[in-house]
């Protein structure tokens, strides 16, 4: 059996793990246009910040490919999938046959058209090479303008702040981190990040760029020594689309992670997922999601039948030492507690916990996450304890025994 995986990040590694659970002998080939041994993309900001060495960027140990019988084909780009011939074609013309194919191509930075941008040197912040490029230029006291107050933009801001840069973040939206936080939490985080020297200009966008200045639509001009564009990402769907596979905002798969093409699977940021918390299909660009989709796909590629069912949006992130964990949907009845440094929002719908945001005190948040994923009815849960903090005590003795007493499903 020949397994081919396009991509070399979390979804790809999950796929290898999934395949190897049930097939210890089949050939696995990983093809990636990046030259690196599998590394962790979310770590690029930590690397840029100086908290992680290049060696520790590795997502899996150096002997991972060898131990798992994987042939890595690195620094070479796949240009085409030929579902009829069951092969993929590389840019140098090489064809690699597959019996089962995984498309784990992830996403790419989205750079919208902006006046004058074509004449300005700017960076995106998505992969190791982009981080290295920034690192090579950043200097103490340098003025950095970041377009985009989302996760990527702010992680870049944090990392660059550690490098001594003076940072201004501009976003069209009127609040930061809109994808994971509600308004109130956004304001809270904004204040906190501002207290670490980052300046925000919100609710406006760049009208025009000149070499070292951005003129904003609100009339303000911002000088910069370095420009980073981090307004969003777009899934890499072209290979599948070109081969005739169904693609929407991302690659469409069924619950087994199979695309509309025979023997072609997809996983990770390039796909559209079903969000169990909001009952909608959306892109869930999260590392755990990518890995687990890959794992499910890998198992199915090895001939089993698994379904990936309870995906939800969720995020764990921190800025300047303040942690945020959030998950699920914020559509429902809210319970909020707030202190100077902490924020807690619980969202209930249909007698279930469907979403939450924790800032500051994030301990044991996974208990909430599991309640959302497992759609636990709150009938036999002590609501007061649930609101107090994530704890096993809120469950009845029977459920506790089931969870803690060694009865594994």
């Amino acid at each position: 059996m020949n397994y081919v995986i396009i991509g070399n990040s979390a979804a790809a590694i999950g796929t290898v793990a999934g395949i190897r659970e049930f097939d210890s002998t089949g050939n696995i080939t990983i093809i990636s246009d990046e030259k690196y041994h599998t590394y962790s993309r979310p770590l690029i900001s930590y690397w840029l910040e100086g908290r992680v060495s290049e060696k520790n960027m590795m997502y899996r140990p150096a002997d991972f490919y060898e131990k798992n019988g994987v042939t890595p084909v690195l620094g070479r780009k796949v240009t085409k999938i030929d579902p009829q011939k069951k092969c993929v074609v590389l840019e140098d013309g090489l064809q690699v046959q597959y019996d089962k194919l995984m498309v784990a191509t992830g996403s790419k930075p989205f750079v919208p058209p902006m006046n004058g941008l074509e004449n300005v040197h700017y960076h995106t912040f998505m992969d190791f090479d982009s981080a290295k490029a920034i690192k090579s230029e950043v200097k103490d006291g340098m003025k950095v303008l970041i377009i985009g107050a989302g996760l990527i933009g702010l992680k870049a801001a944090e990392a660059l702040a550690a490098n001594g840069a003076k940072i201004t973040v501009v976003d069209m939206a009127d609040r930061i981190l809109p994808s994971i936080l509600d308004n109130r939490a956004g304001v809270k985080m904004q204040k906190y990040i501002e207290s670490h020297g980052v300046k925000f200009i919100l609710g406006t966008s760049a009208e025009e760029f000149t070499e070292r200045t951005a003129r904003l639509k609100n009339g303000v001009s911002v000088d910069f020594d370095m420009l980073i564009v981090a307004v969003g990402v777009r899934p890499n769907t072209e290979l599948v689309a070109d081969a005739g596979g169904k693609v929407d905002r991302g690659i469409i798969t069924d619950m087994t992670q199979k695309t509309s093409l025979d023997d072609v699977y997809a996983a990770g940021d390039c796909t559209v997922s079903y969000d169990a918390s909001s009952d909608t299909n959306r892109i869930l660009a999260l590392l755990p999601n990518a890995y687990m989709q890959g794992e499910v796909a890998g198992r199915n590629m090895a001939g089993r039948e698994f379904r990936y069912v309870n995906a939800i949006p969720m995020n764990a992130i921190g800025f300047f030492g303040l942690h945020i964990i959030s998950a699920g949907s914020y559509d429902g009845e809210e319970y909020v507690e707030e202190t100077e440094n902490t924020y807690k929002k619980l969202v209930f719908r249909e007698n279930r916990l469907v979403g939450y945001i924790l800032i500051g005190d994030v301990k044991r948040a996974g208990i909430y996450t599991s309640m959302i994923k497992e759609r636990i009815d709150l009938g036999d849960v002590d609501i007061e304890l649930l609101k107090e903090k994530p704890q096993m005590m809120m469950f009845g003795k029977a459920r506790r025994l089931e969870k803690l007493g060694g009865i594994t499903k």
Partner: protein, 145 residues
Amino acid sequence: MKKVYVNEDWCLACHLCEFYCAAANSGADSMIKAFRDGKKPVPRIQVEEGSEVNFAVQCRHCDEHPCVKGCIAGALSVSDEGVVSCDENKCVGCGTCILSCPYGCIVPDEEAHVIRKCDLCVKNHNGAPACVEGCPNNAIVFEER
């Protein structure tokens, strides 16, 4: 696989398990040294106190191990025996495992910017789980179930 289990009928919420755990994993060779000068090493076991029952929770080393699957740094791994442990040199303290663990068993160490979790004392000098040995009422046991 032998795991640590807590019988909530017998847990006294004395919290000794937390201290034995913290000391055993602190790298210090005695509890006094581990807590010297007001240091507060982080335990990997946490006691929940209720009005009638108490119990301690620690990593279940569950089959699903979502913490390992979600770890962005590749710091968490499962041994062949099934023990989930964390390479604290690789951990960046992002908290994704805290987000993922359904038992709430992964503990942030705010000072060290890493997480701490139970590895059944396989790595420290203790040999057997320190919480089990330190429990004065046999509420914590290490056994196959």
